[in-house]
Amino acid sequence: MAGLGYLIRRLATGIPLILGVTFISFLLMVYFGPDLSFELVGKNPTAEQIAAARAQLGYDQPFWVRYAAYLHEMVTFDFGRSVSTGQPVRGLLADAVPVSLALTLPGFVLGNLLGIALALLAAWHRGRWLDRSIMAFSVIGMSISFLIIIIVFQLLFSSRYGLNFFPVRGWDMSSPGAYLYYVTVPTLAIVFVSLGYNTRFYRAVFVEEVGRDHVRTARAFGAGAGIILWKYVLKNSLIPIITRVMFSIPSIVIAGSLLIESYFGIPGAGKLTFDAVTTGDQPVLKAVVSLTALMFVVVLIINDLLYRAVDPRVALT
């Protein structure tokens, strides 16, 4: 019962957050976004044709009327059709979000698992050559632009100048084989670029944990490295790990990875969002902003519940 009350309270506190995010985003869309009316009327429009196009796009309506309409769309989750392609926005998202998820999830999971493993190693061997080597690798990974990594990986794995094993572009999930074929190089790129950040972050967490009294005591009792790292260090570091992982989820589901999707020609949500920003496709943007805000609220709640699950001392108030 207390849990239900907590859930309702958190959902209620999420409403101002959603309103704030949507209001600021809509303000930016309306006053700083591209004006499509001149795009849609062809090469020699009259002033009347431009006015008609503005009316069709709703630009002639006062801001508050448009924002109220946006809120109504959000409640019904019916954002109409994309201004660019005429496709229903719901359908566009339904097509794009699973693709982004399938694209980024393997890299996200591998990047975090490898990051945690390397960070544990580095923390355990703190100050020694292994720690320094892992940290040097992390800094290199963090220093190279994602764009460069993508282009180099494409040249290395997908061009006649390299192995030419994988496709440069495209996406197919019709079979596990096809999925593996298309997801491998993007996944490698995601892992490479995220590994440095993840390793550094997790190492900092683990180093602090390794220095605690109970770890020293366990060592004194002759516990092995595996037991200590797994049972005492990792388990006690779950709060920051959960925070990092959970807060990455909305961007994985909704934002995808713009660069990966652009350069590998993958029809995911990141590319959809970027195209909507550059073309001023407000129905798509409104849907993406709403969905992202909503996901953050849900993630915050799940995050709190997970804190409580891994650490009973945390109270849900």
Partner: protein, 592 residues
């Protein structure tokens, strides 16, 4: 521990090998042609076929009444869905067009029984009327605006599709009669554009705005899949079986022998089963995809690859290692880039005061003299562009190669003299905004422009670079006359100089395409005179006079045509050409 590590590494290696070997199966029975484009067709409804990317899809899946010959250059119109060339009345106002009988739309759920019905003259009338339906946004309406008798009135009266338009009638199922308000020699060219593609009303009723991403036409291809990354077309099995007549299409063994298409003569197109078109805006990825063999033709050579791939630029030739693998086609683009001044801006344009008017003209001419076209060409177009005076580009038959090149010759001394003579000093010069779409390239071009001006005594702070986040915002600035100096580009809609000369016709001033707001009664009179004339020496002479007026009035810094370089693998048999809002060549392509 070591065993676990070994197992983990082995598993990873095996997984990677499995991924590399899991290339989706290729059906050897399917003949597939694949190419990449550098832009995306955001909407393939014929109402929105405004870009080369949309247009090539639209003319592949829909029929147009006319099309351009495959190989003949300059471009020549020929019947497509029309049975022949139109009967044109002596006054040039009435066009009677007969349709080929028995042409059918593809089978689609939009039709009552799912079976495509015959394409009739009523569909042609309906498709043109759609552009004038106030409930729909059309980018092609301007082509026929106030040109077809009764069509604008039909729009103003509420666009009742059952109401007849006197100038746009289906005489019977296979005959369309169009009556123009005044002669419009380019009318037939407009009927070869994607805007004029023929759409069944059933599809519009069934899918509405959904036609932006699906197609129900009668063209040689059927749309199988549309995404913003790729379009897949499959052969329309019911497309009319018309044998390819290479001689009729302009085949010249000397020019086209190397294309390997001679064996296609007499066979009905299309020659491949599938067309896959990838849209890859990032040039590095596009090049990698092309060279890996995934695409077998690409839309254009990226500028950054020019020096790597070309052995020479004049004439354009590939290095041997590339020539072994690829075909090359090159020529001036069907369009131009230039800079115009806002003639309605009192700081630089026409003003009632004769003295200030003369000063402003001197300023414009000085800026033109200060501009170094050759350097612009070398720095930004790999030296491959063609600089020419005026606005009639080299691709057009009306291009005058004998025109003086004085207006495109870098002449900083004369620029300084003009400024001094007119009384301009660094202090009294107006501050002028130079607009650009925010990008590194745009910024570099603007800074180069500022550098040219500084070299003749126009201080950099007098050229204020105004950046717009997107092309849409920049377009709005052009249409609302916000800017005194504007970079401009124009792709030809049809191969007739009228299409560029209308850019300076007074009544087309902003928000129309005359962003320069040039209003010259003598120019307008010549334009109106020539706009009803068929191609002739007399019309070319009028065009020449209009072109000269633009040069003499220093309306802008005119002009450069970029060079188009198309590459395709030697396995592809055909001549790619997407110019003039084209795409008809896709029905004739073959692969080995």
């Amino acid at each position: 521990m070591k065993l676990r590590l070994f197992l983990a590494l082995s598993a990873s290696f095996l997984l990677a090998m499995a991924a590399a070997c899991s290339r989706p199966g290729v059906d050897s029975e399917v003949k597939r042609y694949r190419h990449s484009d550098d832009g995306v067709p955001t909407n393939i409804d014929p109402l929105q076929a405004a870009t080369v990317y949309s247009n090539q899809i639209v003319v592949s899946v829909y029929d147009t009444l006319y099309r351009y010959k495959y190989l003949a250059r300059p471009y020549v119109l020929v019947p497509n869905l029309a049975a022949g060339m139109p009967e044109i009345s002596d006054d040039g106002l009435t066009y009677t067009i007969t349709l080929k009988p028995g042409v059918r739309f593809i089978d689609d759920e939009a039709f009552p029984d799912g079976k495509g019905r015959e394409v009739t003259a009523h569909d042609v009338v309906y498709s043109l009327k759609r552009h004038f339906d106030p409930a729909r946004v059309s980018q092609g309406r301007w082509l026929w605006d106030r040109k077809i008798e009764g069509l604008n009135q039909w729009m103003d009266a509420g666009a009742d599709y059952d109401a007849a338009v006197p100038g746009l009638l289906a005489v019977d199922d296979h005959t369309v009669r169009v009556r123009l308000v005044k002669p419009f020699p380019q009318f037939m060219n407009t009927l070869a554009q994607g805007f004029a593609a023929i759409v069944p009303h059933e599809a519009v009723t069934a899918y509405g705005e959904g036609l932006g991403t699906r197609a129900v036409g009668s063209g040689p291809w059927k749309l199988e899949r549309y995404t913003r990354e790729q379009v897949r077309l499959v052969r329309n099995p019911d497309f009319r079986k018309e044998p390819l007549d290479l001689a009729y299409e302009g085949y010249d063994a000397a020019l086209h022998g190397h294309l390997g298409i001679a064996h296609l003569d007499g066979k009905p197109s299309p020659f491949v089963d599938e067309l896959w078109i990838d849209f890859i805006q990032e040039s590095a990825a596009r090049w990698a995809s092309f060279t890996s063999g995934r695409e077998i033709q690409m839309s254009g050579l990226p500028v950054e690859q020019t020096d790597i791939v070309l052995a020479s630029k004049d004439p354009v030739a590939l290095k041997p290692e590339y020539a072994q693998r690829y075909h090359l086609d090159t020529g001036p683009e069907a369009g131009l880039v230039f800079t115009v001044f806002n003639m309605a801006d009192p700081d630089i344009g026409n003003v009632p005061d004769p003295q200030r008017n003369a000063m402003n003209r001197a300023l414009r001419c000085a800026m033109r003299d200060a501009f170094d076209w050759q350097q612009r060409n070398d720095r930004f177009y790999s030296g491959l562009g063609e600089v020419f005076p005026g606005v009639i580009p080299p691709l057009l038959a009306e291009f005058d190669a004998t025109l003086s090149r004085d207006s495109v010759t870098h002449n900083p001394e004369r620029a300084r003299a003009r400024l001094a003579e007119a009384g301009w000093t660094a202090e009294n010069l107006p501050t002028l905004d130079y607009g650009l779409v925010a990008s590194v390239l745009g910024r570099e071009m603007a800074e180069e422009f500022r550098g040219y001006m500084a070299a003749v005594g126009i201080p950099p702070e007098k050229i204020n670079i105004k950046s717009y986040a997107t092309f849409g915002d920049y377009n709005r600035a052009l249409r609302t006359s916000e800017l005194p100096i504007m970079g401009y580009g124009w792709g030809l809609d049809y191969p007739d100089a009228e299409n560029v000369l209308q850019l300076f016709y007074g009544p087309n001033a902003a928000p129309g395409s005359n962003a320069a707001n040039y209003r010259n009664p003598a120019y307008d009179a010549l334009y109106e005179q020539s706009s009803v004339m068929l191609p002739s020496a007399a019309r070319s002479e009028i065009y020449r006079q209009m072109n000269q007026m633009l040069i003499d009035d220093c309306v802008g810094i005119l002009s450069l045509s970029r060079r188009r370089i198309a590459l395709w693998h030697r396995d592809v048999l055909g001549l790619p050409d997407r110019q003039i809002l084209g795409g008809f060549w896709l029905r004739f392509v073959d692969v080995k």
